[in-house]
């Protein structure tokens, strides 16, 4: 469907009209105009505030995977060690990506419906001595949110860089980059920022810049050329429309108040899980404490295949998310992030879920 009557996909989320209207301006050349550089700098400051950091912020053109690859390649060289902390597909994915480019890896993994034990992470870090520890804040396929503070402490204790994918939580939950000791933090535009998928935002600590300078990685996704942007030109023609959309998104979050936005996400998430429980739908994560405020994962109800459920929900106007890998066909997801962290939208969506299940039961 081109447009969803009731859209609760866990990203890309529905993009509010005022953000889409950024494209109505026929912007000049981002390479030439001081207005663009000021906009970039303004977005850097707003992102520092939103993500809780005094360190650098870099905004690049490309989907969030460009930031994931860029984070690994900019800071690691073949043979370096990477410890992946995982409670799902994306967490494990970091080890796969790192292996594919020549790193030695170890993974501390929990069941997908659970969270890893930080003691095991510490044990592994002390023995394996990784150059980088990776974690995924919100594991979107699993619907879990990983506590970061202890992992950041372990990284500091063992001298590792701490890379965190907060692609689907940043903007919808507190990320606390500096408080959690995150050296490389990665955010996508199509989740809680309610934008199209074409921009990536990254936080880079001074420690991480030093490592990146030693590595000297060259490529589209290298962070190095961005260190002094906007004081120096960007390494390619930037996306002024996207930068304007980002400014509208961040300004709207600041106007509502970050704490209010995070609270709105929590309310939408609690409501979603309460309505699901009332409809007899089983939560995938082991308990509510580990659930993300941006996405909820549920077992596909007994008596349904995912394909049947998806088709039945769509026939009533609701589109939700399926799953991947071992969770494909077994777990489905409701995305209540950004523009979709909306209690009335969640109520409407879960009412459709309830009605759909009732017809068959």
């Amino acid at each position: 469907m081109n447009e969803y009557p009731v859209g609760l996909v866990p990203g890309p989320v529905s993009v509010p009209r005022n953000i889409r209207e950024s494209w109505l301006t026929d912007f000049g050349s981002a390479d030439l105009e001081p207005e663009f550089l000021r906009l970039y700098a303004d977005n850097q400051k707003l992102l520092q505030k939103l993500l809780g950091t005094k360190e650098s912020v870099v905004i690049t053109s490309g989907e969030a995977m460009s930031a994931l690859w860029g984070g690994l390649k900019s800071a690691l060289e073949p043979g370096d060690r990477l410890l992946a902390v995982a409670s799902g597909l994306f967490g494990e994915g970091f080890a796969d990506m790192a292996k594919s480019i020549g790193m030695k890896t170890e993974t501390v993994a929990a069941e997908y419906n659970s969270l890893p034990d930080p003691r095991k992470v510490r044990e592994s870090a002390l023995r394996f001595r990784p150059k980088m520890i990776t974690a995924v804040h919100c594991e979107t396929p699993s619907g879990t949110l990983m506590p970061l503070k202890e992992l950041g402490d372990i990284a500091r204790e063992t001298g590792a860089l701490f890379l965190v994918d907060f692609v689907s939580s940043g903007g919808g939950a507190e990320v606390g980059v500096d408080a959690n000791g995150i050296d490389i933090g990665l955010l996508g535009s199509q989740k809680a920022l309610s934008m199209p998928s074409s921009l990536s935002m990254s936080t880079i600590s001074e420690r991480a810049w030093k490592v990146m300078e030693n590595v000297g990685y060259c490529g589209y996704d290298s962070y190095l050329p961005w260190r002094d942007v906007p004081r120096v030109p960007a390494p390619y023609t930037h996306d002024w429309h996207g930068m304007s959309a980002l400014n509208r998104s961040l300004s709207s979050i600041m106007k509502e108040g970050m704490e209010n936005v995070f609270a709105r996400h929590c309310r939408a998430a609690s409501l979603c899980r309460k309505l699901a429980a009332e409809a007899g739908i089983e939560l995938f994560p082991l308990n509510e404490d580990m659930c993300s405020p941006t996405v909820s994962a549920f077992y596909v109800p007994k008596g349904w295949t995912w394909e049947e459920l998806d088709a039945a929900l769509r026939s009533r106007g609701l589109v939700v998310g399926g799953n991947y890998g071992p969770l494909a066909g077994k777990v489905f997801r409701i995305g209540h992030m950004g523009s979709q962290a909306d209690e009335s939208l969640v109520t409407r969506g879960m009412e459709i879920v309830r009605e759909t299940l009732a017809v068959k039961n």
Copy 2:
């Protein structure tokens, strides 16, 4: 300036309103919808027609530099040999990029206001035996267009892959991918396609796919995961808005007729150079035959610095392009590509140039 009263920058060009209005639709998830896959496939077909190829077309999210890096990294491994054919900054840039990722390189370079001699390219290719020969079709900073047929023949004769950057010519001039033996052809969105800068389009020949499969490069800019898209899912959440904008751009080119579009570019280019000559402005390329139909490069007139000229033109509403590297401050450029390949716009712009120079003279 956010919007240019008279914009003749050689990319990013002015984006027509109907293309920008692609963003007014609140598209669903590109990961989930058959409509998106059909749109992607339709754009592949339109690009095959526009670029003259029966080989693969890949459309990715990211500025054109992602395609340049992706082309090199997907097909080369450290130690491989690359022969760069250059008549300007971007042509020479391929050798710099390749060196930075461990290749052995050789460059056959002409003066920036000229074109390289294919005999020298052949001599070098026969001796150096490169795995890849690179060329830039329209060398935007120099305003020249490089004939490709002889270079393609040399690549075939010596068994090299032929990679061509037609970022700023594709859509505005005939590229002839198959006719010229181009194995990897690279196009950006913000030039003759009159779009924002966020998409890249590449043609990949069967020969190139075989090499890429042997190399097995992994990364954001790797072409490998794209070989069977849209029959298999894309490796990240694609940009549905951009894909829709591309469809509008390509459909509009097909409606006007490709030959008519190319002819319109030639007329705008000839007119620009004629009006410049009448205003006493000296063409940068040695002769008109080597000029690109998408951009014209001129010497900054005597008695002016580039900064003075830029400020004076801007004060009358006209924004043109400056230059980089050895041409910075010496050569300026008029971009008449895509939406700007418009005789009335060029006339208006060159009238401002004439008036501006007249005041000082």
